[in-house]
């Protein structure tokens, strides 16, 4: 119902003829006042240019630079007395000391710019209005990205302000080839969205595809980049993220240099990167900032723990329920003795523990920080310990669940680890009903789903399922920089070479 109404309103959005500005100041003011009625934050500041011509400055309180308005617009204009000599137009051009002043011809435009934060200057007898580039509002300072911390590497993170974010990218890629196309999305929020890419590096078809998908969005508001993600992804029913979200400018720049496209949204510190592959989700920023041998080792560990995170509980359930013979006898005895008092089958036990682990995790995330630690202490230590002592769950199961929990944190992308954690539950059910066969069925289904998934046209498993030796340099291993001479192959045509070959350092090269 709600959705229907939203779609209806987006379609029938009133598009009347734009109202031109009148030469009478009072009529213009009245029109704007009627449109912005009950907007207590809109300020109307009448004054006289050179003591004679009446003028009106309209701005939104808190979105405009008050000091700047007084010092650079009103004060110089009120002092002015050479009005007759050069005419109003010319005088405004000379005297208004704003970095950006654009002329507007309709009242609708005036209101739009006003809502963007630009002060609007209207003058008696003028058919044009001026929008002054004196927008300024309170914004968060650039901070270290909380979700993607790194020991080594830049510590800047994106903020909620789009212009700061684009400037951070521009500071890294100082080339006019870095393009930033902007669009407005959202009927009411009119959110500024920027599509960034490097011309000649990114496949033009991908850029076009992203832009056309963005232009299709019709919504009343875009509050976070997730809204955009859900509108433009290829398969809306997949548990896997098909666009990468990151709050690190360096990650965005690295992706741009690989020929990908970034989407930045006003009001969200998370930029979206597309197209991505599954292996993109297994790459952390820090992989590239530490020694490549160690990074490779960490990457292998990550893939291993990805498997653990997905499969360990279900393997445990399968082995305990169907394939006891696989466990070495001595281990089997200790496991059996620990399960002696447990009244539930392994399946129930596993589901019980995994669900409570997920609940603990979520509770710890949402609670105010002050009681967050209390929850983790009560949850993890007291409940876990006493559940074992009371004989409700066995100690090995607690170990399995804890290990799985840690394993899921090995995935550098939080969103990806969410989807893996969620898929654990169907896997446990399959293991509890069909044993290893069920797990394999689940894996096949998962592989099928992943193989059919696409991210803006690029097959999701592209680098793993279409093995090319050159491309594994950044998938299973992290090759040293001097050997990554080619960009990863995405779709279509692209500029392959990224660095000159033969740069391997050695002592002979001096």
């Amino acid at each position: 119902m709600v959705r229907y109404r939203m779609r209806g309103s987006a379609k029938t959005e009133p598009q009347p003829e734009p109202v031109p500005l009148s030469a009478e100041l009072a009529r213009n003011e009245q029109w704007i006042r009627s449109v912005c009625s009950s907007c207590s934050d809109v300020v109307y500041r009448p004054f006289k240019i050179g003591g004679r011509t009446s003028a009106l400055l309209i701005f939104v309180d808190g979105l405009a630079d008050d000091r700047g308005i007084e010092d650079f617009v009103i004060a110089p204009l009120m002092r002015e007395d050479a009005l007759e000599a050069i005419g109003l137009q010319e005088m405004l051009r000379q005297k208004v000391e704003a970095s950006d002043a654009s002329e507007l011809e309709t009242l609708d435009e005036c209101v739009v710019r006003l809502m963007d934060g630009y002060p609007i200057l209207l003058c008696e007898g003028e058919l044009n209005a001026l929008a002054l580039g004196l927008a300024k509002w309170e914004m968060r300072a650039v901070e270290e990205p909380a979700g993607e911390s790194a020991v080594r590497g830049p510590r800047e993170g994106f903020t909620e302000t789009l212009r700061i974010n684009t400037s951070q990218i521009r500071r890294i890629i100082r080339s006019p080839k870095l393009k930033m196309d902007s669009v407005r999305i959202g009927g009411y929020t009119r959110t500024h969205v920027v599509v960034a890419y490097i011309q000649g590096v990114a496949d033009a078809a991908i850029v076009e595809e992203v832009k056309s998908r963005l232009s299709r969005i019709q919504a009343d508001g875009i509050l976070e980049s997730v809204y955009i993600e859900e509108f433009i992804e290829d398969n809306p029913y997949s548990p896997f993220p098909q666009l990468l979200d990151t709050e690190r400018p360096d990650v965005v720049c690295a992706s741009l240099l690989e020929g990908r496209v970034a989407i930045l949204t006003e009001g969200s510190p998370f930029a979206l990167v597309a197209p991505i592959t599954f292996s993109s989700l297994m790459q952390a920023a820090e992989d590239y900032y530490q020694r490549y041998i160690f990074s490779t080792f960490i990457r292998w560990l990550r893939y291993f723990f990805l498997m653990i995170s997905l499969l360990l509980p279900s393997l445990y359930v399968a082995v305990l329920t169907f394939h006891q013979e696989m466990v070495p006898s001595s281990l089997l005895f200790s496991m059996a003795s620990s399960r002696e008092d447990v009244p539930f089958p392994a399946l129930v036990e596993a589901i019980l523990m995994e669900v409570s682990f997920e609940a603990l995790r979520e509770a710890g995330l949402r609670l105010p920080k002050q009681i967050g630690s209390a929850v983790s202490i009560v949850g993890a230590l007291v409940v876990g310990e006493s559940a074992v002592q009371a004989g409700l769950v066995s100690a090995p199961m607690v170990i399995v669940v804890a290990l799985t929990g840690i394993a899921s944190c090995m995935i550098p992308r939080y969103v990806a680890s969410n989807s893996i954690r969620m898929l654990r539950f169907p896997m446990i059910f399959l293991a509890g009903t069909l044993g290893l066969l069920g797990i394999m069925m689940g894996i096949i289904a998962l592989v099928l789903h992943l193989s059919s998934l696409r991210s803006i046209g690029l097959p999701y498993m592209a680098s793993l399922a279409t093995p090319r030796v050159g491309e594994w340099k950044d998938v299973l291993i992290r090759a040293p920089w001097w050997s990554m001479t080619k960009r990863p192959r995405l779709t279509g045509t692209f500029d392959q070479r990224r660095l000159a070959p033969g740069q391997k350092p050695s002592k002979n090269r001096g």
């Binding site: 394939h323 696989m326 066969l437 096949i444 099928l448 193989s451 097959p459 279409t466 779709t491 279509g492």
Partner: protein
Amino acid sequence: MSNNDKMTGVQLACVMYSTVLGTGFITLPTTSYQYARNGLWLTMFPGILTALISMGCAVKLSRMYPGLSPVAYIKRILGRIPGFLVGLLLFLFCLQAAGVTVRQYGDFVTGSFMNRTPLTFVIASIALLAGIAVRCGAGVIARSAALLTPIFVLPLLLLVLLYPHLEFRYLFPPLERGIVPVLKGSLTPQAWMSEVYLISFFLPRLASGVKIGRWAVASIAAIVASMFYVNLFSILLLGPDTGSKLVTILIAFRYINVADFFENMEAFLLAMWVVGNFVKLAVFYYAASMSCSELFRLRDYRLIVFPVGILILIFSIWDLPSFAIVAEQNLLVAPFWVPTMMAVLPGLLVIAASIQWRRRSLQSRPNG
């Protein structure tokens, strides 16, 4: 961006490997041993010839009729009505072979592990997965084959752990009864290897510039090498007992015991082999669906995927009342029936097509 749906050489090789060996590892050693005895390790080699013929015909035909799948070019070569009949035969063959494949898988699973799970359920569940894969298209089958084949192959490496149990005296005396038993024993393997012809259903989707020949030879070599390896270990481990085991590798895996930790790995093996069977079934299933849709000129083969799946289920149970019949079928029927469809028929097609081409080029030349 449709070029992403094209298959690469590695994917092609993975599809072929699993198509032949998906059930090959389960069935071949025991079946071949019936004739070849301790010459079991040699039985794979005569099959290379069949595999090369099938493969060569598939490649040749796909070059003559680029972008066409088998039933389409059969119609083109033989004309409307004979083409329809032969195409129907191919379709029925794919159905029946898919049925036997899924039946072998089902017997393997229910016979060795899930004794109390109904056969129909085991068969239907994998057929459903394969059906989903087929609906997703050739690209998805190829990609998932590339991801799944390593899982399928890896457990074979564990056979090395059997080293202490191997008895080399089982190999002697080599060829004690001459070459004929080995050749008889190689009949079933060569039937299995002729199934590489099914790749021709995928060749229209191959990316341009892929060197088909190289990848085909590589995959045939990999197939022969793995089968040789498996046969060798079967004979070295079990000796004269090989013939009495249903699935020799399974028995071999029971022997593995390293560091008192890796033992009784056969359930693990089951899990890994499900994957290979899945790829094999998906390939046959895809071939059946494609040929059916080409046969009746359907606009979208996706419509008939699940109906074809039900036919496959029927074929897997109908006329195969027991495991013994399946084994007998593998020993007596498959060695002749499968190569007829997968090597002889393509060979005849190549001959017919090249005669046609020659005649046409003679006609088109202005002054004869």
